[in-house]
């Protein structure tokens, strides 16, 4: 029943491959260029006629042609979110140059987070059931919809038979997946594909997202999602995410892995006190748990990738949590997801990728088009242009609706 004892493992866990698709980047380097140049993927919804709805801006991945990436037989059985996840996992494994035979059977697993399941797919099936009758429901609906779909399909496509799982914790889930994947590696499964991809940009998925009351009704794509800004007015939903190849550092070295982006050094997760208790959020505690898990002092953290809800009350609470851990204006804070929209379980893994590239390139990306941060927040928000800085350690934060708080510490790889 052991983390880290079953096989004598428990050492460092490193990222050796990345596959990423976001509204502003079809692939890791494209995303990174767009993020540094503040090119936004937010724009008018194009999947359907959204004119009747009070919010009409989204972070869509334009021009994705699943048929040019995936076998034809997979297309009718998968939602767009699963197609994106399968492409991301293909890219991650290719990036890591994991070759068949490199690991024994059961030595590779999959842990993904999922918030919405195959929602556009399932909307079509609900529509068929109620407009045409039970016989019209697809033979694929039973497994295209549920939250485990991406884990199952990635496992099958890549022959990954090790311990695997799917987690749901709204926007915090993506970090939980990476944390759990690291736990799985440390318990003796040397390679785990992990991360999250979400999409729910069909009309019913859209209306369901609007029901949460935090979606921006703004019409100007440049200023619709402004985390920590004086004019924060809600968030813009996005689609996409990232999958990472996580490996035990010794196993990766043993197989001759050609690259290491960095280490997933710590993880912590907490839940807020019940609503109305008047007690502070558990976000600072999640950050402290992750730092302690990594054996890192707050002063060693070079940048915080914040959750950045884009809702005044939530931004204020997050700023307070950051200050509680680091002190006022003591650490650069950034929210690159201001350029993609909030991608649910995809957001945390994408922030981890951005943190890894900050370490690689010595630069902290800016927070979209945010210009004015209330003085009372007392945070050093990186904005308007990238900031050159040596980055060896980053803290990534994420929150889920109703009180989920997760934190991951990303650290530069030790020299070989």
């Amino acid at each position: 029943m052991t983390a880290g004892m079953a096989t004598g493992a428990g050492g460092r866990t490193v990222v050796t491959g990345i596959g990423l698709l976001t509204p502003n980047g079809f692939g890791l380097e494209e995303f990174w260029q767009a993020t540094l140049e503040r090119r936004s993927g937010i724009g008018p919804l194009t999947r359907f006629d959204a004119t009747r709805y009070p919010a009409r801006l989204a972070g869509e991945i334009d021009g994705f042609d699943p048929a040019s990436h995936l076998p034809a037989r997979l297309l009718p059985q998968t939602d767009v979110s699963t197609q994106l996840a399968l492409v991301a996992s293909d890219w991650a494994l290719q990036d890591a140059k994991v070759e068949s035979g490199g690991y024994a059977d059961y030595d590779m697993g999959v842990v993904t987070a999922n918030a919405c399941g195959g929602f556009a797919f399932t909307h079509r099936e609900f529509h068929k059931l109620w407009s045409q009758g039970p016989d019209s429901v697809s033979v694929y609906e039973s497994f295209a919809w549920f939250y485990a779909v991406n884990t199952g399909q990635i496992s099958i496509r890549n022959g990954l038979r090790g311990p695997s799982s799917a987690l749901v914790a709204d926007q915090a889930g993506g970090l939980d997946a990476v944390g759990h994947a690291r736990r799985t590696v440390r318990a003796g499964t040397p390679l785990v594909v992990t991360g999250g991809v979400d999409s729910a940009l069909d009309p019913w998925g859209w209306v369901s997202q609007l029901a949460d009351g935090r979606v921006s009704h703004a019409v100007d794509p440049e200023h619709a999602y402004l985390p920590f800004d004086t004019h924060a007015c809600g968030h813009v939903p996005g689609e996409g995410g990232a999958l990472l190849v996580l490996e035990d550092a010794d196993a990766a070295r043993h197989r001759g892995a050609h690259q290491v982006y960095g280490e997933i050094a710590g993880y912590g997760s907490t839940f807020d006190p019940p609503p109305g208790s008047g007690l502070p959020s558990g976000l600072a505690r999640a950050a402290e748990l992750a730092l302690a898990d990594a054996g890192v002092a707050a002063a060693q953290v070079d940048v915080v990738f914040a959750d950045g809800a884009g809702v005044g009350e939530l931004d204020r609470a997050e700023a307070a949590a950051i200050n509680a851990v680091f002190g006022p204006r003591s650490v650069p804070v950034t929210v690159p997801k201001a350029l993609t929209g909030r991608m649910h379980s995809g957001a945390g893994p994408v922030d981890i990728c951005a943190a890894l590239l900050s370490i690689r390139d010595g630069v902290i990306p800016p927070t979209g088009k945010v210009t004015r941060v209330p003085a009372e927040y007392r945070i050093d928000l990186v904005r308007e242009e990238p900031r050159t800085a040596r980055v060896s350690c980053a803290l990534v934060l994420a929150r889920g609706r109703w009180g989920f708080n997760s934190a991951v510490v990303v650290r530069e790889a030790l020299p070989r």
């Binding site: 109620w130 609906e141 039973s142 987690l167 019940p274 609706r401």
Partner: protein, 418 residues
């Protein structure tokens, strides 16, 4: 890790005690679907629970906001907490976590909401003015473990494990890992699913996974029988209070069982299909037994996945032979799905409850409706009548869409002391 509190709701099981009474009766609680007119569907039966949320102590506001699956989870959590005798207010609540399994989560509310916003399924561009303020929580169902956390003000790690039909095993396995690694002192863990709604019935109709034996609903779930023709959908939940043995002993708690081993593997084969050889399930069993430091010959009872589909029952029979060898032939194996049906992600936790109660009472629940075994299913499936026999070590397994195969080993509290 030990179980010190159990709460269960399932077909004809309004409490933990009623659940055990049903399981030992050998009676099947599946029936013709009453929640909606099932006549357009291929499979028209289900294991429905007679669940009255007001009588269960939920407030009108809770009933209004929570999907039925969340209601089941909360009610079971409260039963488990009361059963445990634990004073949660005296605990460090930042050290109390929740791990909740569910396969299809808020399916029932999603379908009700869909009909409301689409004018009964007519409109593709749905009407946002008719949407419930709770709809975001049906879309993204992590509110379910949140609701469970609020029952005791838990502030440690809280998550939802959604691994299809192994969710209820994997959520409890996950909770044990968090306790073992020191991330929590006490976990509320379990699973809930309430999938008896037209879209889910239609899903399984489409792939002919559910039984069409509509003229005989009480005898339609017949795992391992030669005449089986699919599973019977059901709803239910089970929740547990889990803590470390020493933690339980210090407060002199009643211990049902120790969870001594857990493992999961994937078959990487097919989203719904199973290979006949049971290889990956056998591996999960082998690793779970190794973690429990338990020899295969020590297994006294196997609580089977036993869904009653043609391929599943052969698949797991092969897995038992592969993992336990000759001992498989002398070990009682039974499927409680023959009595309560298959509640998807919830059933794994409900089967852990059955296994813990089998250890508690030294009674093995039977496989109801089993009259003539499939020649390829040639083990001792405890047909129709419960059996008194010492149960010190129980193995419970699950198999699910996506290729998940999970196994858990439970043993009597006497064993937990060593």
């Amino acid at each position: 890790m030990v179980i010190t509190g159990i709460g269960v709701r399932a077909a004809d099981s309004g409490s933990r005690a009623e659940f055990w009474s049903l399981l030992t009766s050998g009676r099947s609680a599946t029936r013709r679907i009453s929640f909606f007119d099932p006549s357009p569907y291929r499979s028209q039966m289900a294991g429905e629970a007679d669940f009255d949320p007001l009588a269960e102590g939920l407030t009108p506001a809770e009933i209004q906001r929570m999907d039925r699956a969340a209601q089941f989870a909360v009610v079971c959590a409260r039963e488990a907490v009361a059963d445990s005798g634990m004073d949660f207010s005296a605990l460090d609540l930042t050290r109390v976590g929740v791990s909740l399994g569910s396969a299809v989560a808020a399916a029932t509310s999603l379908e009700q909401q869909y009909l409301a916003v689409s004018a009964g399924g007519r409109d593709w561009l749905v009407d946002h003015t008719r949407v419930s303020p709770n709809m975001a929580d049906y879309l993204i169902p992590s509110v379910m473990p949140a609701e469970v956390a609020w029952t005791v003000a838990a502030q440690g790690p809280v998550t939802m494990i959604s691994n299809g039909c192994t969710s209820g095993l994997d959520s409890v396995g996950h909770a044990c890992r968090l306790l073992r690694e020191g991330s929590a002192d006490v976990m509320l863990a379990g699973a809930s699913d309430t999938p008896i709604t037209p879209i889910v019935v239609a899903c399984f109709d489409a792939i002919r996974a559910t039984s069409p034996r509509n003229d005989d609903p009480e005898h339609a779930s017949r795992p391992f029988d030669a005449s089986r023709n699919g599973f019977v959908l059901a709803e239910g939940a089970a929740m547990f209070v889990l803590e470390e043995y020493e933690h339980a002993r210090r407060r002199d708690a009643h211990i049902y069982a120790e969870i001594s081993g857990y493992a999961s593997r994937c078959n990487a084969y097919h989203m719904t299909g199973l290979k006949a050889d049971g290889r990956e399930m056998a591996e999960a069993i082998r690793v779970a037994l190794a973690e429990a430091r338990t020899d295969p010959s020590a297994v006294d009872y196997i609580n089977a996945h036993g869904s009653g589909t043609k391929q599943n029952d052969r698949h797991e029979t092969a897995a038992y032979k592969r993992s336990l060898g000759e001992h498989a032939y002398s070990t009682p194996v039974s499927s409680i799905k023959s009595m309560v049906g298959h509640s998807l992600g919830a059933i794994g936790s409900i089967e852990i409850a059955a296994s813990a109660l089998a250890i508690e009472h030294d009674v093995v629940p039977p496989t109801a409706n089993l009259h003539q075994s499939d020649p390829e299913c040639d083990l001792d499936y405890v047909p129709r009548t419960a059996r008194e026999c010492p149960v010190n070590t129980a193995l419970t397994v699950g198999s699910g869409f996506g290729g998940f195969q999970s196994a858990m080993v439970l043993r009597s509290p006497e064993g937990a002391r060593v």
